[in-house]
Symmetry: C2
Subunit: 180 residues, 2 copies
DNA sequence: CAAGATTATTCACTTAGTTGAATATACAAT
DNA sequence: ATTGTATATTCAACTAAGTGAATAATCTTG
């Protein structure tokens, strides 16, 4: 269950409330973990309670003015150890698992225009996302050679996003030519 | 539930038994749907029974010599209609959801060598997969311009795989330089 | 002051996916 | 003869993920 470790990773860089975490895992909020892992707020809170019960996390209640109180979660020594152990384990290649590919595979069953419209809509979204990645790169990682260790690893995941979206767009252009 | 439609798509190109389908959805069997969608044989059989009950599929029992009998499933008119309807629906961008990226994000917590070794192992697997894709391309799609409609769509999904793996390898090489 | 937005969290229900075990036929190898 | 492998399928238990609804405090706006 990678959500467990995705949460631990996110909380390692900074303790946060469930609410703040949930925002970062929300796919519609730009520029956060949500780009390569997402989860609903219900999922996050459920997992936080589970991890607190296992003592991988500890929570501190924080009284707030002007808004409801909250609980700030941070990773315990045990949680950190578990995270490191998980990182060291080997993992399978992640499958693509993309609805669009399944649809394309059976694309001969529907009107041509249905598929073309779909690809154009996705193309726009991927282009937007690539633009966001580039913006993050320029804003937070202008000089990749001089990054701290922590930031360097975050930068590498950002680069993955950039390569992924670039590859997606190149593919889209190539198949559009086949379709027209 | 995309497995439903992935199964329908696979059975649209040719009626098959659960056993044959399961092989095609097996991630460790090379050169099939399993590259962009996978499922265990238990999942497949469960889903086939569900779809037969809904009359999206029909089954025909086939007596065999030299091996156990089997049931061949094919898509009904209703199943085909449901598949086409699903294809026409809009879909979200698929998230990356890759354990390796979560691990990389928190990579500063473990020895450098742990991450480098992981990337090298993955690099080899991705390179192998790319080689398989290229082989399929040369063997089944030597002349992309002259493909039947059905094969053209399959070819487009293959191209996605090629772009994906090419992008992955380019990314890997780029971050390896950052790591060393 | 009522209505709506934002912050903050929980509970219950349902669907989807994973894992272990079991059953049965037939062939091939030891 | 027995063990192992390939074909072919089912059942049960469990974990993980997704969805809908609810509660509650506080701030903003008409």
């Amino acid at each position: 269950m990678s959500l467990t470790y995705a949460i631990l990773s996110a909380l390692m860089s900074a303790p946060r409330s469930g609410y703040d975490l949930a925002k970062r895992f929300n796919p519609s909020v730009e520029g956060s973990v949500g780009f390569f892992w997402n989860a609903s707020f219900q999922q996050i809170y459920r997992e936080l309670n589970r991890l607190e019960a296992h003592q991988w996390l500890q929570a501190e209640s924080v009284q707030q003015e002007n808004r409801p109180d909250k609980r700030i979660y941070s990773v315990t020594a045990m949680g950190k150890q578990q995270l490191c152990q998980w990182i060291a384990e080997s993992e399978e290649m992640a499958p693509l698992k993309d609805d669009l590919l399944v649809k394309l595979y059976a694309g001969y069953l529907v009107p041509h225009q249905t598929i073309v419209a779909k690809l154009e809509a996705h193309r726009q979204q991927h282009q937007q996302r690539l633009a966001i990645y580039h913006e993050i790169k320029h804003q937070y990682f202008p000089n990749p050679q001089t990054l701290s260790k922590t930031l360097k690893f975050q930068y590498m995941t950002l680069l993955r996003g950039i390569h992924y979206e670039t590859g997606w767009l190149a593919w889209c252009d190539e198949i559009m030519q086949l379709l027209t």
